[in-house]
């Protein structure tokens, strides 16, 4: 329990640090938000009045404190572009991106573990060699490109889904997840290839260890040695990889949302960057940071459950 608390505390500190760096970055970026709000009108007196009103003339640290306090209350500021609260703007986007990343993550775990085990168990067989080559190729394909290929193959040739036919989760939850399947696959594919490669070598390394010989000497069959002893040990490096993959998947979703026309955080982020809509960008970056750091904390906790050698203090 102590361990969990400690991890959560680290999480809070990390997120705080990230939010400060992000805030600082946006306060030194050239471009006056007041000027931008006024839409190119250049009456210096008006601009100055707005700057005063927005608190832009205060020291950065004071501005940051104000921003943080508001953020913690759930007020992420007001979008420059749409003149509506950022919170309301993002409320509909966060679940979409979360769902997309979660689906990609699940696909990765569910597909890579059996494939990795199969590949290791049948080391040197035709199927194993095919998988190894496949992995090499797939690993080199960036998600946006596999997204395009998938759209073409499954969408336009096989008609398994309608490209651009996104369904809101408010309308039909089933159809929503069904539409996300292929984008999630596009994000997951390179990660699956890496995870299969990692698991394959991890299972093979573990299989040569002394405790495996001991397990055989007790009369275990190959399968019970594999699933009863080797697998848990071999999964340890994979769990670390899965944790690191989460961050990449969220980053990947930003681009994939464009390819598949999904109105998630990523799409909003890109539009906001185009519009220099700083409050929205800040909020999205901090949200993504929270998700990434939190998922890493989860992985750390999971790792400890799997491996008793990690000290519990």
């Amino acid at each position: 329990m102590r361990f969990v608390l400690k991890k959560i505390l680290t999480l809070a500190v990390t997120v705080l640090a990230i939010s400060f760096i992000v805030f600082l970055a946006f306060s030194v970026i050239p471009g006056d938000p007041a000027l931008m709000l006024l839409g190119g009108e250049s009456d210096p007196a008006k601009v100055e009045a707005l700057r005063q009103k927005m608190g832009l003339n205060d020291p950065v640290i004071v501005q940051y404190e104000r921003w943080l306090a508001a953020f913690l209350r759930g007020d992420m500021g007001t979008s420059y572009k749409y003149s509506m609260p950022v919170t309301r703007l993002l409320a509909d986007k966060v679940p979409i991106t979360l769902a997309l990343s979660a689906e990609a993550f699940l696909l990765m775990v569910v597909l890579s573990i059996p494939l990795g085990i199969y590949s290791a168990k049948h080391e040197g067989s035709a199927a194993d060699r095919f998988l190894v080559v496949c992995n090499q190729v797939v690993m080199a394909i960036p998600p946006f490109f596999s997204g395009i290929l998938i759209t073409y193959l499954f969408g336009m040739l096989l008609h398994l889904f309608t490209p651009g036919g996104y369904v809101s989760f408010r309308e039909d939850l089933g159809a929503f997840f069904a539409y996300l399947f292929f984008p999630a696959l596009a994000i997951a594919i390179p990660k699956i290839a890496m995870a299969v490669k990692l698991l394959r070598s991890s299972v093979l390394t573990e299989s040569k260890k002394d405790y495996v010989r001991t397990a055989y000497s007790r009369g275990n069959s190959t399968n019970s040695v594999l699933y009863g002893h080797v697998l848990k040990n071999a999964l340890l490096p994979a769990v670390t990889f899965f944790g690191m993959a989460i961050a990449d998947m969220i980053a990947g979703s930003i681009i994939i949302e464009q390819v598949f026309g999904i109105p998630g955080l990523g799409k909003t982020l890109l539009t906001s960057i185009g519009n220099r809509d700083y409050p929205v960008i800040e909020a999205i970056i901090v949200l993504i940071a929270v998700i990434v750091v939190a998922s890493n904390v989860l992985v750390d906790i999971l790792y400890q459950v799997l491996d008793p050698r990690i000290e519990i203090d």
């Binding site: 505390l9 405790y211 010989r213 001991t214 007790r218 009369g219 275990n220 203090d313």
Partner: protein, 535 residues
């Protein structure tokens, strides 16, 4: 004659991993009766472990070709189905391995691992029944608090306890044959003795036949009624152990027996020192190392929210001197603090109080494991040159000359210079380690169990080398060991450590013959060194 339990005939084992097939066991024959203890002796690479693995049914890779017969109770284990073989494994035939540290599954609780054989062979047993037998097996193996141990993970136990756990797991289904593959090699003398006693008791009380594999002839002589000596994959001599031990027929067996460090307290020490009868250089009266009131600490992360680091004292207020050109032995069980003390002296652990005086400059270290202490990516010549480069010897010719001299000094053939560590034997690697430690011409060498990982015949060579270096270079050595027999052969003085304290110290003859320290007596007894008054 008892009932035949195991009848191995014409066993041949061939590896087909590489281009040319490699035959590791040739025409191996072995007949074992119920309840018998048979020893299988040989050096590394002699094929003794391979034969044992084949009997235990653990050589199933396709690359390994086995021919011959392994009849266990009339069934040929070599030519039966996998299912049939598995029905014997862990039930009638059990095996205990050399490495208790790695032979247990690191992420599974002890209890589950111990009861695994029962689960496989008696799936109808109730949970409760299985649990009871598991606890009984742990307690039979001499583990106090079996219920507590069952809930722990392997990393929480010491080496000796893990080996007991391995034995408990092997014995849980009352096997008729227990194969013990060097079960004590990785353990301390005192623990070693306890494990041997445990095997003896298992044999006596349960009638389990034991096939005991070891490179230590004297251990085999004490435990086994019969012995087989293996060399280059062949059994070269077999017979009752006492006869083989006293009247070996083959030259190789004679050599093996001669390599066992002998300790006979009834005659002057030089009689036992057949490998290096030279006397030590006369004391100069100056010290190469002088340690006063030394305490050494380790830090560990403390518990609690902000976990302050905590210091643990491992060595307590120790004082000792090593004279110039003297070999001082530091003896103790694992965890006694002897290596910690040595690391502090070598400057590898700055967390200490007290004084360490090194009038002749920094000492160099040689470690136990010559397999892992050399960087595998560089040639021998490069490794030997490295200390010179670090010392700023920039002249390439000068470096080459000094490496050549060093290779000659430690008896390394010049042709080995361009090889990599993996292409050298264990003894050669340890020579490289010693050579590279001596490149900067230290006056003090710290040798941390430098021969424990080597075969007996190689041990003798390395010990002779150290003795010669002492004489020729006036080198002082702090020799860390747990083997009192080696110490008798090599060292001038001895300090005995227990729980971070030096409990006994003095000239080797004096300590071995007359020490009144209880702990010293225990250690001597475990090493089978007998004083006259105790005979």
């Amino acid at each position: 004659m008892g009932k035949t339990l195991l009848d191995v005939s014409d066993l041949n084992i061939e590896f087909h991993d590489h281009q040319a097939p490699e035959r590791v066991v040739r025409d191996f024959d072995l007949l074992m009766e119920e309840g018998e203890i048979v020893g299988l002796v040989g050096e590394s690479g002699s094929g003794k472990s391979m034969s044992a693995m084949a009997i235990a049914g653990l050589l199933n890779r396709h690359e390994i070709e086995k021919t011959g017969k392994i009849l266990f109770d009339g069934t040929d284990l070599l030519h039966c189905s996998r299912e049939k073989l598995r029905s014997y494994q862990g039930s009638d035939i059990s095996i205990v391995f050399q490495e208790p540290m790695t032979s247990l599954d690191p992420v599974q609780k002890i209890g589950r691992q111990v009861e695994e054989s029962l689960k496989i062979h008696h799936p109808d047993l109730s949970e409760q029944e299985r649990q009871n037998r598991m606890l009984k097996s742990l307690s039979d193996a001499g583990l106090p608090d079996p219920a507590g141990v069952a809930r722990e993970y392997p990393f929480e136990l010491s080496g000796g306890m893990r080996q007991r756990v391995m034995i408990a797991a092997a014995m849980i289904d009352d096997p008729r044959l227990l194969i013990a593959d060097e079960p004590t090699t990785a353990l301390d003398v005192l623990i070693q003795e306890q494990i041997i006693e445990l095997l003896r008791r298992i044999n006596r009380e349960r009638g389990t036949a034991v096939l005991f594999i070891s490179h230590d002839l004297s251990l085999v002589n004490r435990l086994c009624s019969r012995v087989l000596v293996m060399h280059h994959g062949k059994v070269i001599e077999t017979g009752r152990s006492s006869e083989v031990f006293q009247n070996p027929n083959r030259d190789y067996t004679k050599k093996l027996i001669a390599s066992i460090p002998r300790v006979n307290l009834q005659r002057p020490r030089d009689n036992d020192r057949d490998v290096h009868p030279e006397v030590s250089p006369a004391p100069t009266g100056k010290n190469a190392l002088s340690v006063k009131d030394l305490s050494v600490f380790y830090t560990s992360r403390g518990k609690g929210f902000f976990g302050r680091t905590q210091k643990t004292e491992v060595v307590h207020h120790v004082s000792l001197d090593v004279g110039e050109g003297e070999i001082l032995a530091l003896v103790g069980a694992s965890g006694s603090g002897k290596s910690t003390l040595a690391r502090a002296v070598a400057g590898l652990n700055p967390l200490h109080t007290g004084t360490i005086e090194l009038p002749d400059g920094r000492p160099q270290m040689v470690f136990q494991d010559p397999y892992n202490s050399l960087n595998p990516a560089y040639t021998i010549r490069w490794l030997l040159e490295e200390p010179l480069r670090l010392a700023g010897v920039n002249d390439e010719k000068e470096r080459k000359k000094r490496v050549d001299e060093m290779m000659e000094l430690v008896h390394l053939d010049k042709t080995l210079g361009d090889r990599y560590p993996s292409q050298l034997s264990g003894g050669q690697r340890q020579r490289v380690c010693i050579g590279s430690a001596l490149m900067q011409k230290p006056k003090l060498l710290i040798a941390d169990e430098p021969v424990s990982a080597l075969d007996v015949t190689i041990q003798v060579e390395i010990l002779s080398l150290l003795k010669r270096l002492q004489r020729e270079l006036g080198l002082a050595v702090l020799f860390i060991s747990h083997d009192l027999r080696t110490v008798w052969q090599l060292c001038d003085r001895v300090a005995i450590m227990k729980d971070g304290l030096i409990v006994d110290q003095g000239d080797v003859d004096e300590i071995y013959l007359h020490s009144q320290s209880e702990y010293t007596k225990q250690l001597l007894q475990a090493a089978c060194i007998v004083r006259r008054e105790e005979q």
